[in-house]
Amino acid sequence: MKAHTTNKRAFLAVSCLMLAAGCGQELDVGSDVLWTARFEGNSFAEWTSVGGSDNASSGDVIELSSEYAYQGKYAAKLTITAPSVNPQGSGSGLARQGNLPTQAYYSAWYYLPSKVAVGIYWVIMKFRYRTVVDDSSTEGELFDLNLKNLPSGDMSLRLYDHRMGDLPLDVADPIVPAGNNVWFQVEAFYRDDAVDGQLTLWLDGKQILDWKGPTGPTPWVAWDVVSVGENLNPATALLYVDDCAISQSRVGLTGLIAK
């Protein structure tokens, strides 16, 4: 009787162990995310430790803030003052320069606390190139993604190609939310190729541009998340940035950049 009870208990124990072993397992097979900046270390080390930078022009500010965050506690707060008369423009931002893949998805979440009247331009994302990889003096501007105003008073996006001017978006005047702690995601697929380049843009997961043509002349790529403006009203404009990522596959609205 005792042996029978022992056998029964052993059987139950083994069964429970096997059931536990088979339940809810998650196999983490890896990641396509090459780099992230979540700012949760309350620093810009995620940028500066990989050859990137955090910069602000005189009178402008780049700082960590816990006022708003897309996820976690911290985000980068970019404050610029861009009066109507300022030929150099104002700007602050974060940059990854070099050591980037020749093709990748670049994602960043933005929060615009209030609508701003854009007099000349307000750039929030940039791609740059070099004609000589190791020569910083050969750097040039390529694509600028701008915020713009719509007649309705809403804010939208505009893409500027420094070689040929504005590139019309496939989706005209996509609305960018402002205020109410509503964040928006801009994701770009950028392929750096002197002949067969590509720039595809998504706003909040919706594709708004799929452009193909020559991009950078060398494999050197720079990606900036910035707030650079001229002639803004009000002159002091705030922009929050969080959860930046470079990935080999799309991050999208629901993608995770960290476990």
Binding site: M18, L19, A21, G22, C23, G24, Q25, E26, L27, D28, V29, G30, S31, D32, V33, L34, A245, S247, Q248, S249, R250, V251, G252, T254, G255, L256, I257, A258, K259
Partner: protein, 267 residues
């Protein structure tokens, strides 16, 4: 046969004519006893032989029962009673050899998981061991499968699996084919390795579920016999595959189906 006995039987026959006549007819001779006549051919005309035959015939006519009784025979020629017919015992059915205690089965196998986007087709070898002589026996199985490529939630994977199962087998014997069904627990080690991710890792998990199978085997008690087996494994909670930035890309198959053809060896 004693002469007195013969004479007394002749007299007791109630016939008027009690003499025994032997008539020579050349190549044949005729014997007459108590109105019974019989003619024999004997071309050699050997008197001694004819006398023996005549005496035997007479004895058969006069008292056949006594003649057949060996105890009454004093001198040749004597006829012995035919031996009683041999008693025919009903032949017992040939005893079937006992069912083998151990049955080893080995053969190539094919297993595929249902539910994956790219259905992985695993080929390999399967081994099964059935233990017991009854119609319901315990059975243990394992398979070694080659890795195969699959895709879960857009994540391309190389999948490797080592399934083991433990259960019961009930056999329905037939004249030519034995059919059997199996039911039991299925356990497997499952390894997934990402193929296209920037940072790929190989992860191994465990699967646990139920297994049912249907098989057929050439009906032989022992020795080698070919068999075929189909089986299904049902896993209520298979592992999930996680990859950044997708997050949980999906689950490994809930259902695995397989087939095995091979040789079964009963010992």
């Amino acid at each position: 046969m004693p002469r007195e006995h013969l004479i007394s039987r002749l007299r007791a026959s109630g016939k008027t004519e009690t003499s025994i006549h032997i008539e020579d007819m050349g190549a044949t001779f005729r014997i007459s006893v108590l109105d019974k006549v019989r003619e024999y051919r004997e071309e050699a005309r050997e008197c001694a032989y004819r006398a023996k035959v005549a005496a035997l015939f007479a004895a058969l006519i006069i008292d056949p029962a006594a003649l057949l009784n060996g105890a009454l025979c004093e001198r040749p020629p004597c006829l012995t009673a035919p031996p009683p017919p041999a008693r025919v015992e009903p032949k017992p059915l040939p005893a079937l050899p006992p069912r083998p205690l151990v049955r080893l089965e080995l053969g190539p196998t094919f297993v595929t998981g249902l539910g994956s986007e790219d259905r992985a087709a695993h080929w390999g070898g399967a081994f099964r061991l059935a233990l017991g002589r009854g119609r319901v026996v315990s059975v243990l199985g394992a398979a070694a499968l080659w890795p195969a490529d699959s895709s879960i939630g857009g994540v391309r994977l190389q999948q490797w699996r080592l399934p083991v199962d433990l259960g019961l087998r009930a056999t329905l014997p037939g004249t030519w084919i034995d059919y059997y069904g199996e039911i039991g627990l299925a356990f497997a080690l499952l390894s997934e390795r990402a193929l296209d991710l920037a940072t790929a890792r190989s992860q191994t998990g465990m699967e646990l579920g139920g297994r049912v199978g249907l098989g057929a085997r050439l009906a032989r008690r022992a020795g080698l016999a070919p068999f075929a087996l189909l089986h299904v494994e049902l896993l209520p909670d298979p592992p999930s595959v996680f990859a950044l930035p997708r997050g949980v890309a999906g689950r490994t198959p809930y259902v695995w189906m397989g087939a095995c053809l091979g040789a079964s060896w009963g010992i």
